[in-house]
């Protein structure tokens, strides 16, 4: 019964969407704002990667909101799981097989390095704080697979997150102080293509990279449930 109603409503919805799609031709440039970014993105922000320029400079306020959302997610995640009682049948995690432990131990530094590379070169090559942080998190995921009982102190993760979040806002305020606009790019833009160029973008992306990395690792760490004995109230 519910299935039929659901399918009916979805049909009507898809017909509505089909109607509105007609006015959005595929592949034709529809934007009035996008070309401006492409044309003088490099000139304004000094970053080769226009997407990073848009993400951090033109629409930097969105990314500030974005960072708060992630910060919120970790907060909510820990409040909900904070009061979890230790499950009695938490079977001892099977010891990792030889290949897994050797492989992980070998791969961990390289994946970590790759993640750091991504968010340092955010303004030059594709990639940035979020992608770099995710790669770091997957590096730590590998690390946890190998040593499930590893105790990583949550307090340190929380501090890193809040510190890097505050750093982002402080850079914004500095922009307000120097360039009399919040989040304005007050540092010298340097030569496009060089590593130290594009003003505040690399700085912010480094902080975001660290923040996203620590946050996603925190989530995975809590979910692994290794050390939730400490949380038991």
């Amino acid at each position: 019964m519910k299935k039929i109603i659901a399918i009916l409503f979805l049909l009507v919805l898809s017909y509505g969407i089909y109607l509105s799609i007609n006015s959005i031709p595929f592949g034709v440039s529809k934007t009035k704002v996008g070309n401006y970014y492409n044309l003088n993105g490099v000139k304004d922000t000094g970053a080769n990667n226009i997407v990073t320029a848009v993400v951090l400079n033109y629409r930097g306020f969105d990314t500030l909101g974005e960072v708060t959302v992630l910060f919120l997610a970790v907060l909510g995640f820990s409040t909900i799981l904070f009061t979890m009682k230790k499950k009695k049948s938490d079977n001892m995690p099977t010891p990792p097989s030889l290949i897994l432990s050797i492989g992980c131990k070998f791969l961990f530094p390289f994946v970590l390095l790759f993640g750091i590379y991504i968010f340092i070169h955010g303004h030059l090559s594709p990639g940035g704080g979020f992608q770099g942080g995710a790669v770091i998190a997957s590096a730590f995921l590998l690390f946890y697979l190998v040593k499930p009982s590893e105790k990583s102190s949550k307090k340190s993760f929380q501090l890193i997150e809040s510190l890097s979040g505050m750093a982002f806002i402080v850079i914004g305020i500095l922009g307000l102080v120097f360039g009399n606009y919040f989040l304005s790019n007050f540092l010298p833009k340097g030569i496009a293509g060089k590593l130290i160029s594009a003003g505040i973008i690399p700085l912010i992306y480094i902080f975001i990279g660290i923040k996203v990395g620590s946050e996603l690792t925190g989530i995975i760490d809590r979910l692994m449930g290794k050390n939730n004995e400490k949380q038991v109230k």
């Binding site: 659901a6 979805l10 996008g34 070309n35 226009i50 997407v51 969105d62 030059l124 496009a192």
Partner: protein, 113 residues
Amino acid sequence: MVYYIGAFGLIIIGLYVLMVKRNLIKMIIGISLINTGLNLFLISVGFIKLGTAPIFSKPGLNPKIMVDPLPQAMVLTAIVISVATLAMALALAIRLYEHHGTLDMGKIKDQKW
């Protein structure tokens, strides 16, 4: 045009799962499908035929035929938001399982009227 069909197909499947399936984890999968479909739709709105990626990796790139960077900025944010919602949903699912012993939303109905 195919991308739109793909994107909205995913969204419709996600909505169908949300409406019909009773298991909470299956619903969360539905939500993640919706988000993926949405991101695909946003990017395919900003695509220009025969356009190049909006990055000046090589010096001689013509900015006029570059793809529109704005939807890509939006999608970056949307992906992270969907991860955030997903993490919260999974945490709640775990606590719900701990409280109710089951994840069947059909049976968890004491918050009504």
